[in-house]
Symmetry: C2
Subunit: 343 residues, 2 copies
């Protein structure tokens, strides 16, 4: 039984306001790579870790019931990742198998259960994709757009945080369905990506728009049928003023609000009545039964080049805290991944 | 051809803020009770007029597309009512028929079209009911609860403005379905009605609750499955903090917001994600195809005393402005009707 040195990213203490790199630290200890007697879990070597906005909530001491738990301060944080199985107590997994799902922000993890893991069957795509397009963010884009919004050809679709892990896919899916797609992001580089790499019809830098309502009116003179909501706050308020009749809003996240003491007020909800519109919150965990169907759609699209995916790759577990914190400043361009090891 | 004296309630000028009686005036002129040559409309004698919160929007000069038009300042206002046909250019209606639908706030109206009228077939109930339980508010309660919220036995239902034209029915429908129902209203008298007349499980006076979140936690320790939204603003914000997983909010109206310069901000929309909840705005006009089905449900329930309906009846067209304005101060107890004539 090997004993290894195991670096970990540990939450120093619960966070309020914007998270900082120093809210986490990297420590190292030794770990015996051995499942406890009778365990149905796995020992894994972590390869890729996923930085996702929802993790901000887990950095707070949550005093209300949520769909996620708080991290434990003084313990390594956890999140989605891609890992290689070193030892398995689950008959469906064996040494050498690759999995994606919930793991620790550390080099090696001993996971008590395999319930939150998916076995990876297709390795003719970049493995890191299982933190993004082929993992939780991909399923999020798919469920939110297809299942919640039922898009029709020719409809007007708006995506905020559009170059992020989820947004870039929402826009590309909507384009494949024949929708007119506009995205917003926070830099010229991202806007260029949206237009030139992801094939959005239009894109704009929301930071350069003093009047979001006016910006949306410019890009959607006919109004918005579908809004994929990633940011909340002022953007949502402006979108509400630009809805078409029977508009649908998939509420995926509200990243602009996560670091505020008190979330901003949204004033234009009367528009839900005026436009007979619907706002649906969702959590991807309720849609994983669709994962096989999703793979059937997305794997061929990747291989045929109909869908592309941009990742922002940080090298080494030590870069994890900066990569995670960078999400909330919009520093990442595309899906933020941390490479722990490439094999 | 008779020439009659015709009293009318006229909008003096567009309103901002709380409407006042003096925003309208009653005038009188003479009218020839005769359809124009070739008209497919009707001449009617108006019997009952309906005071409804949505009419507030029509008193403003709307500078955006809405589901209603502004009234014309200097012209009589219009609204739902019950009327008797005096002359008809529509082969489906004849002299003496009773109708409900859109008419003028005046003693007699010449309506160019019968499209917005329903013929009344059942007269063994109070005719005024066709401004309320058997008219637009009844259909609103039915569509919002049954069609938008799909209530299940045992679910926790909260209704705001619960003693109003719509709310009292939502609560009684939900009780018939086996739900646990709590309503809020703005006076002790109304709260008593909710508990003792309409059979709500619990009711409270929101004006006596300094902390709406705490009040809702008291009445819904398990949280709210269905919220029938009539008021908006702070109440909506408190409800969002008390949703159960997969909660449904039917957004029917936001009467607390109609007279504000700028609607209040709603801060807790992240709860839509946390609770995987949905907010659906609706307008009753899209559900009138269900009216026959609705009547089948509600007429027997009225006759068997399973559903009761409380009206606040103002006598005479002259009392119309005060009755309408009273809605926004919560002066009405139950459905606010104006009697123009009883036959």
């Amino acid at each position: 039984m090997a004993e290894v040195s195991n670096k970990q990213v540990v939450l120093r203490d619960y966070v309020s306001g914007f998270p900082k790199e120093s809210d986490m630290y990297v420590s190292s200890s030794t770990l015996k790579l051995k499942l406890p007697e009778g365990s149905k879990g796995v020992v894994v070597k972590n390869l890729y870790l996923s930085c996702d906005p929802y993790m901000r909530n887990r950095m707070s001491k949550l005093d209300y019931e949520s769909y996620v738990d708080s991290f434990k301060s003084g313990s390594p944080i956890t999140g989605y990742g891609v890992a290689k199985v070193l030892e398995s107590g689950d008959p469906n997994l064996k040494e050498g198998d690759l999995v994606w799902g919930m793991t620790g922000w550390e080099e090696y993890s001993i996971l008590n259960s395999t319930q939150a893991l998916f076995k990876i069957h297709h390795t003719d795509v970049p493995l890191s994709y299982y933190t993004g397009i082929l993992g939780m963010p991909g399923m999020t884009a798919y469920a939110g757009l297809y299942e919640l919004c039922s898009p029709n050809k020719g409809e007007y679709v708006y995506v905020s945080a559009a170059s992020g892990a989820v947004g870039q896919l929402v826009g590309q899916f909507a384009k494949l369905l024949g929708c007119y797609v506009v995205g917003s992001a926070g830099s010229k580089e991202k806007v260029d990506l949206l237009k030139n790499k992801f094939g959005f019809d239009e894109a704009f830098n929301y930071k350069e728009e003093p009047d979001l309502n006016a910006a949306l009116k410019r890009y959607f003179p006919e109004g918005i049928d579908i809004y994929f909501e990633n940011v909340g706050g002022k953007m949502l308020d402006a979108v509400l003023l630009n809805l078409r009749v029977h508009a649908r809003i998939a509420v995926c996240g509200m990243i602009s609000q996560y670091n505020l003491e008190q979330p901003e007020g949204v004033h234009n909800l009367m528009q839900l009545i005026t436009k007979r519109a619907v706002m649906k919150g969702f959590v991807v965990g309720e849609y994983y039964h669709l994962y096989p169907k999703f793979l059937e759609l997305v794997l061929p699209s990747i291989k045929q080049g109909q869908i592309v995916y941009v990742e922002d790759v940080a090298q080494g577990l030590e870069s994890g805290p900066a990569a995670l914190v960078g999400l909330f400043k919009g520093r990442n361009v595309g899906k933020q991944v941390v490479v722990v090891s490439r094999d």
